[in-house]
Amino acid sequence: MATEMVMILVGFSTAFALTFLAAFIWAVKSGQFKDSTTPAMRMLVDDKE
């Protein structure tokens, strides 16, 4: 019984973790990792207007 429980729970947690992986893949594909320097600089130079 406990074994089955663990298997089901592991299945769920892995499926859940896979959604994070999917989110990461989406983030990379959409170019969020393309340039990590500019946003850091942009934040500092943005003016107050």
């Binding site: 990461f24 500092l44 130079v45 943005d46 003016d47």
Partner: protein, 868 residues
Amino acid sequence: MNMDIPIPKPTDAVLHLQDSQNNDVRAAEQTHLNTHCHHCGEACAGASITTDDKVFCCEGCKFVYELLRDNNLCTYYDISAQSGVSFKGIVSDKRRSRFDYLDDVRTRERLLEFSNGTVAKTTFHLPQIHCSSCLWLLEKLHKLNDGVISSRVDFMHKEVSITFNPHQISLREVVELLTTIGYEPELHQQNVSDAPDKTLNGSQPNTTSLYLKIGIAGFAFGNTMVFSFPEYLSGVGELDPRLRMFFGMMSIALALPVLLYSASGYFQSSWQSLKQRHINLDVPIAIGILTLFLRSAFEIANGTTSGYLDSFTGLVFLLLCGKLFQQKTFDAIAFDRDYKSYFPIAVSVLRKTASGIQETTIPLSALGVGEHMIIRNNELIPADSVLESAVGHVDYSFVTGESAPVEVLSGNLIYAGGRVMGAALEMTSVKDVSQSYLTSLWNNEAFQKQPKSALEQVSDTFGAYFTVFVLALAGVAFLAWLPNVGAAVNAATAVLVIACPCAMTLAAPFALGWALKIFGTAGFYLKNTSTVLELTRINAIVFDKTGTLTNARTNRVQYNGQGMKPHEQEYLAAALRHSTHPLTRSIAAVMHYAAAPSLLTISDYEEIPSRGFQCRVEGHSMRVGSAEFVGSAMLQSRISSFKTAPHRLQAERLLSQSQHAQGAQVHIAIDGSYKGHFTINAEYRSGLRALFEKLRPKHNLYLLSGDNDAEHETLSDLFTDDRAMAFFQTPQDKLDCVRALQESGLSVAMVGDGLNDAGALRQSNVGIALAEERGTFSPACDAVMAADKLGRLSDFIGFAVYTRRVIIAAFWISVFYNIIGLTCAVMGLLSPLVSAILMPLSNATVIGFTTSATILGAKLRKISHSEN
């Protein structure tokens, strides 16, 4: 002043302001001589222009300032100092037409990434991007023109993506707008003719896929570790077999994408190298990870263990992380190098000042379009230019490999990378300096001393030995266990799995990459990473004297002889401008000429290296050089026509005294009659004595001087041994001498200036060109050193040696881990837990050790001060 800058859509405000400026301009011309331009931060030599109490070096800079001010964009100047891009040379209508091709429909389609009639998107490479102000201004393009919808900068790649409305602003107008504010896009011909945007197809998908590979490997690593933990904690056999099988299957499912996608690069690379009957370092890695996966799958299916898949995914994850880090480091180095001011190189230009035309030296980074340059014998042409002089010879061997000089006529276009032969040429630049072009020239294969870099050679040889060793050890382990086939396979595969050549894959690139970066911040620019290793092998250093040990700028120059008439002085000054020799340059620096020397015609210029030069100025023959050179010519050419004794006597006396001269002397003869000589007392660079004392214990020091031996005594102090010094050396002598030293088994570093010593620099194992003042860039050298850093040469060599020690230490760390791992493997004791701890730990230790040891070492040795 003429103001015909093309403005895409000139606003009334701008035009109005231009009219009101003209009065201020004249008033200000006299006052601001040594101020810095408000826009580009460059020193304003001579005439400068003011507006709003701010000084500008040229109309271009002032114009950009006004454009920004009228659009309330002056924050540009507050973000970082010297933010502006130098805007030299006013763009004329003629230049404007060069963007005509952008109106062509096909070109436009290639450049546009997206267009639906009302919205179009394009990306440009702007090599001028260098600071946060650039970023700020380029993302405010929509304020300068309503047609621009938005613009985004990619700083590291120096790119800007612009979204605009093609009904309001055409692509050509976008390019012109960027050009107007000083950021002319780099529109390479191949860029326009090939793919829509080369940069997009080039580096980025690579990084993107690397991130994906790391992400997937990391995800699998984390989760397989969770599946492996129950067994590590409970011990083999305690776990419910069904659960173990389930965890094993889950691990395989997670590890499959890692094997097929994340690790694919290693298989491809080793397959490529095996096809060429060659073993590189990726081969043992590929064998290791493949064995690891197959054995794990087998054991899981068998139900023996839950496999080694956490080690497998962790190993791939860490290897890829190392790759990413390495790529980032090299990206940063490439960014610095492409930025023009990275190399300390300068160029001579003629500028109008209140007192007439003056020759000044400006850094190459400040050279703009429309600048009037003087490029001398053997100097490299930094930018595409139009020849102003009547006729000249240019050697394009760096560019085309063809060594015969090409004759160019006034008005002809001369390409960057050519070398001037003979008389100095005056030319007007028509394009910006391409620093990346100079860098690529430097990295040109023609100047590689070995077909492969030292590092590649070492690591490939190591890879081959390592593979052979591991396979042999696996074979031995197999045989040793043989009666028991199961244990034999077990031990052999364990050997293949645990052996990791990570010291070479990770340690060397990391340590050398950091060293290169640290040297760069200290004013010592190395061509590539293998130069660092080459530096550590040096045991002989050859110095040039003039301009290297002595400082050409602070020489004391004295004239002894008959007074020269004003016109003779002018002739001399005009002739001296053509020579690149440090001594004649020091004389030229103290000569004052009233008239513009460029108006005098120079012909038949001929320079004999290390002897002197001759030419005709306005038809008058001029000989400048050593006593021997000037004296013998006087005897030969005038002996028949000049029957008068005094001339002959003079010439003979000159020849006899040439052996015991005081200080370096440059003799002058005009129209065959001797005028006198300049004595140049060399000023030695500071810190030489300390440097030589530090270098002497480990290096043989030599001096090769093209000049006379007047400084013999002073130099004896430094070199101690008379045999280590040679005077009256021609460039060929120097090259031969370096070669002779190499043949006697020494590894030679040559320190000299890039022009007169080019041959010796190329012949030496490490050629270090000292850069001072002028365009002494020579692709033949392995390193460029800022002249004032010469005193630190021993520290630099010391740091290179230290870096090599770091690599060796990292190597031993890896050996240590491998011994533990291989011992376990051979004895058949390798368990999933041991491998899970050992493999990531060894990689992480090696990366952490090399990086921190290199940076810390640089700080302790005071090579880098501010670097992180």
